[in-house]
Symmetry: C2
Subunit: 486 residues, 2 copies
């Protein structure tokens, strides 16, 4: 006897050669299942928790008058390229053109073409990188059908070819809300209320950091280097981490003069509550029109918030910059109080987002909840409601197919009453069925045997307490409704 293993075309055949007969034991395609790196499967338990977060955000957005829209996963590359900087262009997932895309390609060119220019020739589409640019494209494209101010929310995945690492994935959800076509600061107020409401409902204690791009401009002006706002902002953004002295050293090494740094110093030392901070900043920025405008805007928002019930802590933080990217007014960021974690929500005002698509003069302001980080915070703080762990309320065990019609009719009544139930459809030992219920954390099981069938009742067993009792269908429904639906 010879054990024989052969591998052809990814097919592995294992067998024995016996008297010149090749006998297969097993033939299976070697298609070891895996998923692309940085991507995730979400099982039932994770999905229940994720959907809980999404549904809270969705509900609050709707309460504040935002409508849901969705845009396609793919956008044209001309829509996406150049919107996220060089880094972003590199991180876009590009989709190969369909069909015989090499047919009208000059093969000579291929000899020394770069990957990037080649990609530009064989790809016309890319996966969306965020929800903001597709939203701007949507607004520009549908401008004639929309009424402004347009308040939309959008909860969809985005894709980035980032190097995967802990907490950073290549596919993740963003949960954005934006108001476009209004420059009223009341929109900022409403967005802060949304943030407060979402985190109250999720029971996450948070602080909301507030700043205004105009204050940052005012600081740069006051220092005497309006055009070096980025350098100044990057430096003062580090004050919490490295301390004021090192910030000054850094600025000095970047060519800022002693005099300039001296003008910056008092700005970094403002303290007290929000109003006190703003008053001090106001003094220092008294020579900067734009700076004073920023203070006025921030104060307007704080004034409005004062009259509203707020669980989150509002903190003016003039070092907050969020990369500055496209913000032109308010800048905000949310941090969980008791967990070491980056920002879990961010946002701000941008003055001309749709301009890149030829639709000028639309001021907008928006926020984005980071669902993955919120998930991690809630896991760490054990904040997910316990009932999310319960998928199916009740499992009917299978004591024989002769009871199937009765069980099916009982289930039909329970489901009409909102009870999630399932029937163990296979004929296996009760012990195996019970451990199935256990594995799925199903809190109740029901047994129907001869006695129950004849008396038209059900034996209900509480899996946690272990006790069981015989109940009528009506009693069963009532017990389960009281336990799970009220």
């Amino acid at each position: 006897m010879i054990v024989h293993i052969e591998c052809m075309n990814g097919q592995v055949n294992v067998g024995i050669v016996f008297d010149d007969l090749f006998i297969f034991f097993h033939a299976t395609k070697m298609n070891k299942p895996s998923i692309p790196k940085g991507m995730r499967d979400f099982g039932p338990e994770e999905m229940a928790k994720r959907n809980y977060i999404f549904s809270v955000i969705r509900q609050v957005y709707a309460l504040y008058g935002f409508s849901c829209i969705e845009t396609p996963a793919m956008e044209t590359l001309s829509c996406l390229m150049g919107k996220y900087g060089e880094e972003g262009d590199r991180l876009l997932f590009k989709v190969l053109n369909s069909g015989d895309f090499l047919s009208d390609f000059d093969r000579e060119q291929l000899a020394d073409i770069s990957s990037l220019s080649f990609a530009a020739k064989v790809c016309e589409k890319g996966l969306r990188y965020d929800l903001t640019v597709p939203f701007a494209r949507y607004v520009a494209m549908h401008r004639n059908d929309l009424s402004f101010p347009f308040k939309r929310y959008q909860i969809q995945p985005v894709w980035r070819a980032d190097r995967p690492q802990k907490g950073r994935y290549r596919e993740f959800y963003q949960c954005d809300a934006d108001i476009i076509g209004s420059d009223s600061l009341l929109n900022e107020v409403e967005l802060i209320c949304i943030i407060n409401e979402v985190f109250s409902r999720l029971k996450i204690p948070v602080k909301i950091l507030l700043n205004n791009r105009k204050i940052l401009s005012g600081i740069a002006e006051t220092v005497g280097c309006a055009e070096r706002i980025v350098d100044i902002t990057v430096a003062i953004d580090k004050i919490d981490k490295i301390g004021a002295d090192k910030v000054f050293l850094e600025l000095s090494s970047k060519g800022f003069t002693e005099a300039q740094i001296d003008r910056l110093k008092p700005l970094l030392l403002v303290d007290g509550d929000n109003r006190e901070k703003l008053a001090q900043v106001e003094q220092h920025l008294s020579g900067s029109e734009v700076g004073l405008k920023g203070i006025e805007e921030l104060r307007f928002v704080l004034d409005r918030m004062e009259h509203l019930p707020l669980q989150a802590e509002l903190i003016v933080d003039i070092s907050l910059a969020r990369g500055l990217s496209y913000y032109t007014g308010a800048i905000l960021e949310v941090k969980a109080m008791t967990v070491e974690m980056g920002s879990i929500t961010g946002g701000g005002r941008y003055d001309n987002l749709t301009g890149i698509f030829g639709f000028e003069g639309m001021s907008g302001v928006g926020i984005s909840f980071g669902a993955d980080r919120i998930y991690d915070v809630m896991t760490q703080l054990d904040l997910f409601p316990k009932e999310l762990g319960v998928g199916t309320h009740l499992l009917f065990l299978n004591l024989g197919h002769e009871y199937a019609d009765y069980v099916l009719s009982v289930m039909s009544k329970l489901r009409a009453g909102g009870i999630r139930c399932s029937y163990y459809t296979d004929d296996v030992k009760l012990k195996k069925q019970m451990s199935y219920a256990n594995n799925l954390s199903i809190p109740y099981v029901a047994l129907v045997g001869d006695e129950e069938y004849e008396q038209r009742c059900i034996m209900l067993k509480d899996m946690q307490k272990g006790d069981q009792k015989s109940v009528s269908v009506e009693e069963l429904l009532s017990i389960l409704q009281t336990t799970f639906l009220l």
Copy 2:
């Protein structure tokens, strides 16, 4: 003066040349917004309707004990390729590898490489083509963490590089439920109940066509050409369209003998109710073990359904094949009663779906709702609940920022009571604000001016009836809750 238009790098500059000075009027990037063909944006109204369909399906799946999972948009191409036939491989959207993917590429090869083999070299990932293969991959990959039978549902978009045409898109949602790891026919019964329940809730009158792959095998055996089951099935599938005579001609032209066709004839003429049909088929298939097994299975399902409340019509249709693809037992398909439209839901049993990923012996059965076609049917039959047209319940008009704090505090109370409200944040004429409310179909608007502010009340206007009255905050909440939430 010379009008001057210049275009560089996609940037268009329009200006006038005046005394040698070039004065720009306008500089904007020529980024005309568009989306890739076959892709769609969904605006607020469409999303409300789509989410309604999804949420009904979701709720019913949960009532029947199915858990939600999600898999990533991208799978490895080795997971996807070869699962959907040659046509499917061609229609897969392939994602270009990131980074410098041409760097270790032998440029010489490029001279005469085909598009297909080139794609295989520069793409490792593809967008999912359906939810079934990713589910099989999921089950095989997570087999040790799952309890079987595993009942999952999954509602996610899929992508196909099909030629776009009316009703066929390159991105569309599938809504699948499958039970894997059980060969009990009770699962078929439960899935039919789900179909019945979903369409009852959506108020779409449907007929559910039922068949069994084993009956088709039995017919092929009886005809005397077990191995030509596909030819036979394809032919008899056309009987409704082209009539029996043409079907026989077609079979004859494909080389079937007179005698074989004579054995097929009576099978195509079975009629009466489901039981009568099955009895006739049983007679004709009496010589086929597999055929009789198919009849037994179908009869078991019908027997169970007889005891259950059913709004959908169940119809045995032995010509139903659904492409045969991977089905091994039950085959089912759903059609809307009064609308000309292809199948709006389909499904069946497959015996070894996870085998391709090395996980053998798992029988499964599943269904898939076609959300886009269901949407079209509901639109044609005008079945969407009217309340879906109402996003925001109430719009507060803006009579001046001095009332903002009062309005914000009233809105805070209304929202706590579940009322979706919005504040027109800009200072524009009332007429414009009113037409905004009209455009968005907001049913109520509220005005707060001096009088309302002093008396702590709100002027509530019914946009449909046109009447208005002054109410307290409590009255306002109660009116809106009664109208919209009860």
